[in-house]
């Protein structure tokens, strides 16, 4: 029997999934009314900071406003980016090491687009590295580094952001030079591995140091942000000192999240105030001088909100002119592609390693190995997988 997905066997589960999604949406909509009211009547940021207890467990972090703007502030951008503005979009892609391939290696390719608002055509950049040394392929426990590949790619992206910011700075471009990466800026991994502590995190924070020196503003772009930090903050504001709801009948919202709240709160083009998450990783960022703040921004149109989370270092967020430049530029970049910034879409395209690329690489590897008298081939498992 040919392998295939028998959808008829999954029909019950598909039905259950859709039913659950509908129930979740109904619950979220029911909770939304209350949460919006909580937002409109929220205490001052100072009062919120004072009364919000630290989280009991990781993952329960509450978002905190660190400036004095009311939570209900809706900030607008300028009409257009300044002609001197520059934004650099950076993204990365990889080929993971595969024991079943004809050789053990991994590839990281990073792509970037330097976008200047001076009428010039943007500058594309692509850099690829092939890694094959044993110490690069295995961790200290002798395991393949497949799980660490994303981290190495993240650091490679930041290093390219630094290199390009240096290039742009040398052109005399005024600050801030905006750099935009796809994903959180707050280190999104556990931080517990030996490699992170020894090499990756120091390299990551060093990139932040250098970007700061250059007058660059690094930003992480997260589309469809998960998270309920703001929801949890608002819930905390409804509790008394004993941790019980001040008003009878109010319950902890379980379905609504920050994205849904912001989709109903922010008009197209508006952004929220800056918030931060007092997590262990953010504390680690802070020890290196780069605690991360975030805001929500609506990059959609009327009736079609697209909420993204922007993450930047505190030292950048605290500068109102820099925040305004980032906000304005991002709006322009996102207008054409339904909320996805153009520089990130192009950076992704430049970074992408397709299956065809990988096949061409393997073909050349095979040829070179043969020329050196090495007869290698993929494993039978890999070879037969290609039949499908």
């Amino acid at each position: 029997m040919q392998g295939m997905l028998h959808l008829e066997r999954l029909r019950t589960a598909i039905e259950a999934l859709s039913q659950q999604a509908r129930q979740h949406q109904q619950q979220a909509e029911a909770e939304l009314t209350d949460v919006l009211r909580w937002l409109e009547t929220a205490p001052s940021p100072a009062a919120l900071r004072e009364r919000t207890p630290p989280p009991d467990r990781p993952g329960e972090e509450v978002a905190l406003p660190l400036q004095d703007l009311p939570l209900t502030s809706r900030l607008e951008a300028l009409d257009a980016p300044a002609p001197s503005s520059v934004i650099i979009g950076v993204d990365g892609s990889q080929i993971a090491p595969d024991r079943h391939a004809l050789a053990l290696y991994y590839v990281i390719q990073v792509g970037a687009l330097i976008f200047r608002y001076n009428g010039q055509a943007p500058t594309p950049v692509q850099e690829a590295e092939l890694h094959f040394a044993e110490h690069e392929l295995f961790d200290t426990e002798g395991l393949l580094i497949t799980g660490q590949l994303g981290m190495r790619r993240t650091v490679a992206e930041m290093r390219l952001a630094v290199a390009l910011a240096e290039k742009v700075r040398a052109e005399g471009v005024p600050t801030p030079i905006l750099t935009l990466t796809d994903g959180p800026l707050l280190w999104p991994y556990s931080g517990r591995s030996d490699e992170e502590a020894r090499a990756l995190l120091p390299g990551y924070f060093a990139a932040f140091d250098r970007l700061r020196e250059l007058g660059a503003l690094p930003a992480g772009f997260v589309e469809r942000p998960g998270g309920r930090g703001l929801i949890e903050l608002l819930w905390q504001s409804r509790l008394d000192e004993s941790g019980s709801p001040q008003r009878q009948g109010e319950r902890h919202p379980e379905a609504v999240d920050d994205e849904l709240l912001m989709a109903h709160f922010l008009a197209p083009g508006e952004r929220s105030v800056w918030l931060t998450r007092p997590s262990q990783m953010n504390e680690r960022h802070g020890r290196h001088g780069h605690p991360i703040w975030f805001c929500y921004v609506n990059l959609g149109e009327k009736g079609l909100p697209v909420i993204a989370r922007l993450e930047v270092p505190r030292w950048a967020a605290e500068r109102d002119d820099w925040a305004l430049a980032l906000h304005t530029t991002l709006l322009h970049q996102a207008r054409l592609l339904n909320g996805n910034p153009y520089v990130l879409a192009r950076a992704h395209e430049l970074a992408l390693v397709t299956h065809q690329d990988q096949a061409a690489l393997e073909s050349q590897l095979h040829r070179r190995l043969l020329e050196r008298g090495l007869i290698t081939r993929p494993s039978e498992k890999a070879r037969q997988k290609r039949f499908f």
């Binding site: 608002y117 943007p122 054409l336 192009r346 061409a360 050349q364």
Partner: protein
């Protein structure tokens, strides 16, 4: 023989035989070769070069561009940089088809089919004017085109001769006219049994 010339990176060889090859590539629009361009590709592990003519260029489906085209209006100053990026910088997915007309080695050019198709291709190079002038100095490069029913041969012949003639003499000069006359006589000998086809080609050359 091999001077510095524009080159086209190859993403994937879709098909290759001794008559023609088709490659997929992603190149900026200004670098996309035109119909009738002479190109060369290495064969026999680099010991020889296949010489051919671009006879088809196909733009592959580009969802990114389609998305953008729905939002960007030509000439909109708000998106000047994006329009320039799409026109001048962004590599578009294309398929380029090349028909072989000759091959070259240390002994010079040999008209006709090459001994082997290109096996592994990383780049194909656009021939320099000097290379085209030498290659088209004899009309024998037209023979593989006349015998090939899989390409738009007549249009290709006309285009190639019109582009090659100025390399053999200033337009309007005696050398220029003599070159086209020599090509016309060659075609007349080869297409004597196809007078309508011959007439069509000669009329296009005169136009």
């Amino acid at each position: 023989m091999h001077q510095t010339a524009p080159s086209i990176p190859i993403g994937n060889v879709l098909r290759a035989d001794i008559r023609s090859f088709v490659v997929a590539s992603r190149i900026p629009e200004p670098d996309v070769p035109t119909f009738g361009t002479f190109v060369r590709a290495p064969i026999q592990q680099g010991r020889a070069q296949l010489l051919g003519l671009v006879y088809d260029i196909r733009l592959q489906d580009d969802p990114f561009l389609r998305d953008l085209a729905a939002s960007v209006v030509e000439g909109d100053p708000d998106y000047e940089e994006i329009i320039r990026d799409q026109r001048e910088v962004r590599a578009v997915p294309v398929e380029i088809s090349v028909v072989a007309v000759a091959y070259g080695d240390e002994n010079g050019y040999h008209y006709g089919l090459p001994p082997q198709p290109p096996m592994i291709l990383h780049r194909i190079h656009v021939c320099t004017p000097d290379e085209v002038r030498v290659l088209t100095s004899q009309p024998d490069f037209l023979r593989p085109l006349l015998e090939n029913r899989d390409v738009p041969a007549d249009e290709l012949i006309t285009r190639v001769l019109v582009r090659a003639a100025p390399l053999h003499g200033t337009p309007g000069s005696g050398a220029y006219q003599e070159y086209l006359l020599q090509a016309g006589r060659y075609l007349a000998r080869r297409l004597g049994h196809e007078p309508l086809r011959l007439e069509t080609i000669l009329q296009q050359l005169q136009a």
